[in-house]
Symmetry: C2
Subunit: 340 residues, 2 copies
């Protein structure tokens, strides 16, 4: 660990050239004669020299660093998106600094400050602060302030009236896929469980749910839709509530996300005589580990990550892109599915 730092000065001296030349061979894209290039390169290798990225950024203003802030990296949905963002970033030569805000506004703010101070070239926001249907003013101000200093891209969320970029999955379309599938399976009594009113993605799903039922001439029964946390427990509670409140229950139940879907499946095991179809949302790893495996709406994860990075790089402003999801059908809605 006590390796005296070697700098381009040392290399230059040793090679008998100027620091500028060394810098050029490191950058690679400058005219340097074959001979000197090789000599310098050799010395670089010999010292196992690593350029100081900080000094470089200080000088040329390109940190090649982007920040990614999310409330819970342990949540499979968030981590799957993160991984795709990271991949795309790597391809373009960026590093990603992950900030896990733990749903705490202070930590979130702290990460943002940190990223700004690290000269991040952009910040990507996923979940958390960007998902309120009616964000409080203070929050918006905060975001606008950030935007003055760095590029801001939101994934699956956006805030009214601040010309930022965002990339999202068309969750309304996802809901339509679900209803179509269930109807095609013969279901006419469908319920929707979970989510928090006022959170954009939930609001979209609920309103689309209602509209689709109407379109298919199915009735929307108020007690067949209830809110709850975005968690396994939320799903269990929602299911219990549904069962206790109704004498007539749905034959198919949609969870606002996979966790809720899995929670419902767990809770339903107490009613071995009744059969339900279950659907989730996000198609996270959870949807594959549950049994039965959970039919779910899949985000175009890879595309989401790619576009987020592209938007970061582009200097277009206020661009909102929406991507189509797909439905991944599994055992929870179709019994006879063969595992591959």
């Amino acid at each position: 660990m006590e390796h005296k730092k070697v700098t381009i000065y040392d290399l230059a001296r040793e090679a008998g050239v100027s620091t500028a030349t060394v810098s050029r061979v490191i950058a690679g894209n400058y005219p340097v004669s074959q001979g000197t290039r090789e000599k310098v390169q050799q010395i670089i290798d010999h010292y196992n020299y690593h350029p100081n990225a900080l000094a470089r950024t200080l000088s040329n203003k390109k940190s090649k660093l982007i920040g990614f802030i999310t409330p819970a990296i342990t949540n499979p949905f968030f981590s799957q998106v993160f991984v795709e963002v990271e991949k795309s970033a790597l391809e373009k030569g960026y590093s990603v600094l992950l900030g896990n805000s733990l749903n705490d506004r202070e930590i979130e703010a702290r990460y943002i400050r940190m990223l700004l101070e690290q000269q991040a070239e952009g910040i990507i926001l996923l979940g958390g602060l960007i998902n309120d249907s009616n964000p409080d003013l203070e929050r918006v101000q905060e975001l606008i302030a950030i935007q003055k200093r760095t590029k801001l891209v939101m994934i699956n969320g956006s805030v009214e009236g601040m010309g930022n970029c965002s990339i999202s999955t068309d969750e309304a379309a996802g809901m339509r896929l679900i209803i179509d599938h269930l109807v095609r399976q013969g279901h006419r009594k469908i319920g929707l469980i979970g989510g928090v009113k006022g959170i954009t993605t939930t609001d979209i799903k609920v309103s689309t749910f209602k509209a689709e039922l109407k379109k298919h001439q199915l009735i929307f029964r108020k007690s067949w839709q209830c809110y709850s946390e975005y968690s396994i427990e939320g799903g269990e509670d929602g299911f219990k509530q549904l069962m206790s409140l109704n004498k007539e229950v749905p034959t198919a139940l949609i969870g606002i996300n996979d966790m809720v879907g899995v929670g419902m499946i767990k809770a339903s095991k107490r009613y071995p005589n009744q059969h339900f179809a279950f659907v989730g949302f996000d198609d996270t790893s959870l949807a594959q580990t549950s049994s039965p495996e959970l039919t779910s709406v899949r985000h175009p994860y890879e595309e989401l990550g790619k576009r987020a990075i592209e938007m970061m790089e582009a200097n277009a402003k206020a661009q909102h892109v929406m991507l189509a999801p797909s439905l991944v059908v599994k055992e929870s809605t179709v019994k006879s599915i063969n595992r591959v």
Copy 2:
């Protein structure tokens, strides 16, 4: 976004003081008169000034940045550890740069280079390259080279003969907890499924498993222990193999980790007439989302994160700490457990 960068020079000019003074009020821990401090602070606020962390680090050599490299952040075990590391780091004023190597040595190497160039004060390794029981020489050389440039801490893994620091869970103790528990539940026929021979953590578990069986005077039957991938599929395959190879099967099955445990549970549903007890390892979120919920060995996650950061800060060398795990008993081994 086009906010002309304001520097301490601007602030100094505006406040009619020197840059040193501005720097002092920012640092906070230097003597500055009440009056000037307030004046400067006011100007800082007014400009919504953020110091350039790179310039600072370049000057004072403290990046307050640490790197964390893991092969798959989508794996709940790794992400749970990461979160705890991050928390502890935050508390001590560090930021954590996450590198997700996707089990690819090149990406891993690239992250390491990146972190070195970003002047990370330390690198924490979890999983991946540090888990071979017999690491190839090249790899060790690599690690040693890194160690010359920055502090290296390994979590749940270590490499022979390079005086680094490591912090691990005592997985042998974990295996003992499992066997004790199963024996107490009356099991005398126990199997162990999953893992890859040559990976340290697996080797430890397998050899302890054998030793414990002997201690309890239970026989170790070769066909009741098999290797497989660390995945749901691995668990399913292992279980199928077990069922097809034996006429007499164990009553209790241990998975090398939770994924394997859950995979076995899934596969076992094809044998509704036979009852098995299942145990997993790591007590990740998977162990709670499965049904039945999976009894599992829990790592002291928080402590693991805390110690890792402490080790990073300390300049002690070659310290290996081992922490005791605990057994979290759930439905998969004790039917009558009441959910809390």
